[in-house]
Amino acid sequence: MSHTLEKSAPEQASAQVVSGDGGVVTLRSANFRRGREKSWQQLDDLVSLVEKKGIGSLTTQQAIELPKLYQAEISSLAVARNTILDKNLAEYLENLSIRAYLVVYGPRKSLYECSAEFLLNGFPSSVRALKRYIFVTACLLLLAVLVGFVMVTSNHDNFDLLVPSFVSDDRNYSSTTNDLLKNEIFLPWQGFQESFIYFANTLFRHNTAVCLLSFGLGFAFGVPTILLIFYNGLLLGAMIGLHHDKQLTAEFLAWLSIHGVTELSAVVLSGAAGLSIASNIVFPGRKSRYQNLAAGGLKAAQVMVGAVIMLFIAGILEGGFRQLIASTPARFIIGLLTGVLWVLYFRLKSSKPAHGDA
């Protein structure tokens, strides 16, 4: 093998190797590195800066440089993979390019933009996307309410079976119509702190925990989600049944509607989100289960976040306004109004085109 790949040039003295026949072979990889090392270092500095202080910390000049340096580095990597056997260099380039990639193609929206986008477009459109599941969940809930109602009105003993004492809170068939009116439906106003802060907060946390559960339990093929929704429906049906037998149906429904429209919608939404996850797992369709979950999961999670916000609103309505407004027609009107508002909101279509995935 008598060949001299490249004749020596004086300034490349140290990149040469004496080959067997006394000729000089240039170590191309060393030259390659020497020519590009500076730009790698620049890129490394910029990437480290962004990793530490965020993309906003770059000056305009740096922001212009970054993609150029990145592209130069990517092409270095492509060459290095096929021509260079310096392990440290290869590992460094691999690592730098993935870090730079994550910076260059990283998120470009601020938290504020994201929240606005979510409220104006993401949440309503995700709700629309899950409408089949929402329909199924709502039917399930109605069915459960019906079952609970029939069970309780046909046999009063079932009430104590269905409703645990911490939910019924002394409301049962032994309490009189007057008791119910005084202690529940027209409970006197408890004061601002008690209602808006304490009670609203407790309700919000409790409801959110229940909804998160019914969402997350979608992973168990949706069975616990269905059970949870059904059980909540039974409770509601039993309570309606109790008030029906005490001739308080209208009053109770009004009392319920002021917050219940929002709260039950949130419960239905979170149940629907859980069911959509379950159906992505059980019926994967053409795509694999992983791809399916990743595609459907984001929508479900958006619905879930929206449901938590709705629960927050419901907590305020329930804790405060329900006792503040002590009139059955007014309560019905507010309940109806919230319902109409939510429907209008879910029909909201943003005129702006949504951002793509990446």
Partner: protein, 343 residues
């Protein structure tokens, strides 16, 4: 790295051990590698995070979260003189908010890293390689309730039920634990939240560019360099070259006073190489390092030349590169032309 053994003589070890370690590392990392094609069309390599690292990161985050909560509680209690009623409400709401938002906040603000993940060089990335959206971050953290806190509650509940002789909910417990152990059942180590959000957790330790050891002349003129014949350079492959690089780097990184600790190892490596490549001339003791360095350069030049012609000699047992034959050169310059499909 092999540590120098004071008892010279009967060890062949340094190279063998390094070799074994390197190949084991290579095997393991091969299994955890995930490719991601950049928009420029180049596949980029990422390494999945290990289960242990992820659990440790979670523990760190949990401790930190506890710290935040304690700080919050203490500051509220001492700063504001509120009546106990509002105080409790405020505390409950605050604790709830901190525990729900801790992960979401940090992963949003630090691009897929929480303090624990940052400490262990972990990072959440989009599985498909796109942007890590806030929606994905929120989705992967919403399920924590079901994955971590529910199983924990069930374990505690079962624990108490066991002692109170009532029927424990073993079925629910097993199911909940299965869900939390999900990452150990799939090849991408995804937990339920990752499945939903289309994300995965990768490890990304920061690498430092070290000096090019082929440029290390060791203060000797090039004219005095050791010379190797092409036959001598055709014995070893990339794997051996990397081991040699490792040894030379370790020695080069040591302070001058400690370099003599490696003299024995270098001697052994040198003797082994000489025997293998049939290098007959005796090598003076003070030139051993120079010899190895020259051999590294020459071997690297030789193997990289092979690479240019499209041949990589992986290790000493793979067959050597015979030099460019006309047909091989022809193949490289003239890619096969695909016939266009007839329509």
């Amino acid at each position: 790295m092999a540590t120098p053994n004071p008892k010279a003589g009967q060890r062949r070890p340094a190279v063998n051990r390094l070799n074994a370690k390197a190949s084991q590392r290579a095997r393991l990392s091969q299994m955890d590698r995930r490719l991601l094609v950049s928009p420029e069309g180049l596949p980029l390599v990422m390494n999945l995070a290990g289960i242990n690292a992820r659990i440790s990161a979670f523990m760190i985050d949990l401790c930190l979260m506890g710290g935040f909560i304690v700080f919050f509680v203490v500051s509220i209690v001492f700063l504001f003189k509120l009546n106990s009623f509002i105080l409790i409400t405020l505390l409950e709401f605050g604790v709830f908010t901190i525990s729900q938002l801790y992960f979401i906040y940090f992963e949003l603000a630090w691009q897929g890293r929480t303090p624990g993940k940052k400490f262990l060089n972990l990072r959440v990335v989009n599985r498909k390689g796109g942007e890590l959206t806030p929606g994905a971050i929120i989705a992967r953290n919403l399920t924590r309730e079901v994955e971590v806190f529910l199983p924990l509650a069930l374990v505690l509940q079962n624990f108490f039920e066991f002692f109170s002789n009532s029927a424990p909910s073993v079925g629910a417990l097993i199911w909940a634990l299965t869900l939390s152990a999900l990452p150990s059942f799939n090849k991408d180590r995804l937990r339920a939240g990752d499945l939903l959000a289309g994300t995965m957790v990768v490890t990304m330790p920061k690498r430092v560019l070290l000096s090019d050891i082929s440029q290390d002349t060791l203060g000797v003129q090039d004219s005095e360099a050791f010379v190797f014949t092409p036959t001598q350079l055709s014995i070893y492959g990339r794997q051996e070259l990397e081991v040699l690089e490792n040894i030379l780097r370790t020695v080069a990184d040591l302070p001058v006073s400690k370099r003599n600790l490696y003299d024995d190892t270098l001697q052994i490596v040198c003797r082994k190489i000489c025997a293998k490549i049939d290098y007959r001339d005796p090598i003076p003791t003070d030139k051993v390092r120079r010899f190895l360095s020259d051999f590294y350069k020459a071997e690297r030049a030789q193997l990289e030349r092979g690479l240019l012609f499209g041949y990589l000699k992986v290790n000493q047992s793979s067959k050597p590169f015979k030099g460019p034959s006309t047909s091989a050169a022809y193949k490289l310059t003239q890619p096969p032309i695909k016939e266009p499909p007839k329509s």
